[in-house]
């Protein structure tokens, strides 16, 4: 076991898989010699060579398209898109090719590509370095979508993603690369060292895809969330003085419906929270699912706390972000409902 932040955990997942499986290759902009702009592949090219950890041209569509080709030829590519905000040139390759190769060829062809990409705001990135586009990807049939919230899961889920024969879009909220963020921008940053999920095994282990985690058990209401907002929800529940059951969805598609059902049927109240914009956002699917599965157990309308339906503004970052206070208000609204 080691203390790791999320960057170190992601690097360790690469390291373990590059070591274990000679078919694993990583490619992306600045990931090789330099080790990645967020350092997630630091030292790996030196260790595994330029043919395993490959610096790529600035062409996201090319990176995804070429990764698919590597996968068709029996390799297991891990592609980094430097910011989720820049993934769109690769979108056609993901939607029209990567996600449907297996389907359209009746299983003859597939490409086990993992696409890692840092997402989310809270780092003064403005509208081109802060987006959370997960809902666009969960709408596609044939890719799995993951968003991680801590170092332990990041490593275990990344290893699962790399080993999966299905393509996985793997979102890493960059605000929590170095430490959990409780949604109060006034407080000084904290590191992962005092967080139990900052304890990460050095070797191989997996966290299963398609399994949500009950992060905290509670009885008053269920908060369903993922990514950075897991930590914001924990702090907000404490501040609101409620016993909240907090679920980290982790794999957004396919969704672990059973864990959601069990929790909300128990608590009878549900708050859905994410950083991404609201309209047609991933939270809408969560609300619809809970409504269908738990309707007769609900004691209050399901509420959503999300980013506003605007681009992510540089100057008003903390007015945009679903900060602690907004979650507290969301919790109170649900608890005060008849």
């Amino acid at each position: 076991m080691s203390q790791m932040n999320m960057i170190q955990a992601i690097r360790s997942a690469h390291d373990v898989m590059l070591e274990r499986d000679p078919s694993v290759v990583a490619l992306g902009q600045d990931i090789g010699y330099f080790g990645g702009v967020f350092r997630c592949t630091d030292g790996l090219q030196e260790k595994y060579g330029e043919h395993r950890v490959i610096d790529a041209p600035i062409a996201e569509g090319g990176i995804v398209g070429v990764a698919i080709g590597l996968g068709i030829n029996g390799l297991r590519p891990v592609a980094e898109i430097q910011f989720a905000d820049y993934i769109y040139p690769g979108f056609d390759q993901i939607v029209s090719e990567l996600s449907r190769l297996r389907y359209r060829s009746a299983g003859d062809f597939f490409s086990p590509v993992t696409i890692r990409t840092p997402c989310g705001g809270g780092i003064r990135g403005g509208q081109t370095h802060s987006q959370s586009p997960e809902g666009i990807f969960t709408h596609i049939s044939g890719v799995k979508t993951v968003m991680v919230s801590n170092p332990y899961d990041a490593k275990g889920l990344l290893i699962s993603a790399i080993e999966s024969d299905d393509p996985v879009i793997f979102f890493e909220p960059k605000r929590i690369y170095n430490g959990p963020f409780d949604g109060d921008p006034e407080k000084p940053s904290v590191s992962w060292s005092s967080h139990p999920k900052g304890e990460v095994p050095d070797g191989y282990y997996t966290v299963p895809l398609e399994k949500a985690e009950v992060v905290e058990e509670g009885s008053d209401l269920t908060i369903i969330t993922y990514g950075t907002i897991v930590h914001v929800a924990q702090a907000a529940a404490k501040r609101a003085g409620v016993s909240a059951e907090i679920i980290d969805v982790r794999t957004l598609m396919p969704l672990d419906v059973a864990t959601l059902r069990e929790s909300v049927c128990k608590t009878g109240r549900c708050l859905v929270a994410h950083e991404a914009t609201r309209f047609c956002g991933y939270g809408a699917e969560l609300v619809a699912t809970v409504q269908k599965e738990c309707f007769w157990h609900l004691e209050a309308p399901i509420a959503r706390v999300t980013g506003w339906d605007t681009p992510y503004p540089h100057a008003f970052e903390w007015q945009y972000f679903p900060v602690q206070q907004r979650l507290v208000e969301g919790i109170r609204r649900i608890m005060e409902a008849a």
């Binding site: 398209g65 080709g69 056609d92 297996r102 359209r104 999966s164 419906v257």
Partner: protein
């Protein structure tokens, strides 16, 4: 012309009712273009991208340094495959007209692209075809019956009813699954080739797009990555002059040949007479040897003409002269190979007629078998539950539920 900025709109030389005019097509005489060594630098062989490699002259005689050493047996095989491809297309086109298949795309007039190039590749090489490369499937071993069953979406459909007609795949013969999204296969081919190089294998990847699709970003991504990593890949542009109703000028073909698109990246280009099977083979073999020898990618433009409609969904008489193909200066690839073989004493008119009859019968027999496995409207049908399979490696819960729900709606057991 005034010295003012103006918006230029490319116009084809002839529209319906006008006389065909191919004066824009730059031609070189057969045998006139030099054949450099396979390790030549792109900068030293730019003439290959700007001229037109031709082997067969007006008298159907092979000329010049690109004339390949193909024996009689190989030439007969090539001719048989071209006749078979045309017979297959003819049958399938008519079956679409009769409503037996929903859609079809002929390769009429472009058969030498697949058959001529296909002769140059090895079994271990990976093909990433476009939608008019049916000849590749036919020649590499995909059975006619299998191809027909795909077009029929019947009980033996290789892709289980997931794709519209002509989007074949054949993993056993290293033929990738065809996409309807244009040029997406180009970066796949480059990635595959990079993978072969990473693994230290000598196989190469080959892909095709049309002239129109060179405007897609994927075309340019593929060229960049191929150049950056010196990928063992051949990237082909089948320039058949027309992208549905827009002529090749709308893909930027008026200023520089498509073969020259890679020159800025240091990728050699070859512009070749796509209706001259010998030249098509010889240039593909040169590029394959170059790739296999570690000298990197080649971009080949095959100049040809789309003899038929884009697909069964458009009527070309609405946008181009009806008799344009007859005026195409590079003729009909099948007829040119036939004449060459007659000239060599390898072939005769009688043999050719017999071959056409034979292939027609072969195709008719295959069709009879294919429809015995069902059509879209006649049983046996595919099991509708197949709709939910192969989305993921293992079916997740939500798809199991949806499959069961559909089954329930349709009545038990269905």
């Amino acid at each position: 012309m005034s010295n003012e900025p103006y918006l230029y709109i490319p116009r084809p030389t002839a529209r319906p009712g006008e006389a065909p005019d191919f004066s824009y097509l730059r031609l070189s005489p057969a045998g006139a273009v030099d054949r450099p060594p396979i390790d030549a630098r792109a900068a030293d062989i730019e003439f290959l991208a700007l001229g037109l490699v031709r082997v067969l002259d007006e008298d159907h005689v092979a000329q010049g340094p690109w004339a390949p050493d193909l024996d009689k047996e190989t030439l007969i095989r090539a001719l048989r495959l071209m006749v078979l491809t045309r017979a297959y297309d003819d049958r399938m086109q008519r079956m679409q007209r009769q409503g037996k298949v929903t859609f079809y795309m002929q390769a009429l007039g472009e058969e030498a692209v697949s058959i001529g190039q296909g002769l140059a590749f090895e079994d271990g090489d990976m093909m990433f075809p476009a939608y008019r490369n049916q000849g590749l499937y036919i020649m590499r071993g995909t059975g006619l019956v299998e191809m027909m069953c795909q077009c029929l979406s019947n009980s033996r459909d290789m892709c289980k009813g997931r794709q519209m007609p002509i989007f074949y795949q054949d993993k056993a013969h290293n033929l990738f699954t065809i996409s309807g999204n244009l040029a997406t296969q180009y970066p796949h081919a480059v990635g595959w080739a990079m993978g072969a190089a990473i693994k230290g294998e000598r196989n190469i990847a080959v892909s095709w797009v049309g002239d129109g699709s060179t405007a897609e970003a994927d075309f340019h991504y593929a060229l960049t990555f191929a150049a950056v990593y010196n990928a063992p890949v051949i990237l082909n542009v089948t320039n058949n002059q027309w992208a549905i109703s827009t002529f090749q000028g709308f893909a930027g073909g008026e200023r520089r040949p498509f073969a020259a698109r890679g020159l800025g990246l240091g990728i050699p280009g070859i512009r070749v007479d796509g209706n001259d099977l010998l030249a098509v083979y010889a240039t593909a073999k040169w590029a394959a040897d170059r790739a296999r020898g570690g000298h990197g990618p080649t971009l080949i433009e095959l100049v040809t003409y789309r003899g038929g409609a884009h697909s069964t969904s458009d009527d070309p008489s609405r946008y181009r002269p009806k008799d344009e193909w007859e005026s195409f200066p590079l003729g009909d690839p099948l007829d040119r190979l036939k004449q060459h073989m007659i000239k060599l004493g390898y072939w005769s008119g009688d043999e050719h007629q017999a071959l056409e009859e034979e292939m027609k019968a072969t195709v008719a027999e295959a069709w009879k078998e294919a429809v015995s496995y069902g059509t879209l409207t006649e049983p046996p049908f595919l099991d509708v539950s197949l709709m939910f399979e192969d989305v993921f490696a293992e079916m997740p819960e939500h798809l199991t539920l949806q499959r069961n729900k559909l089954a329930k709606l349709r009545g038990a057991g269905k």
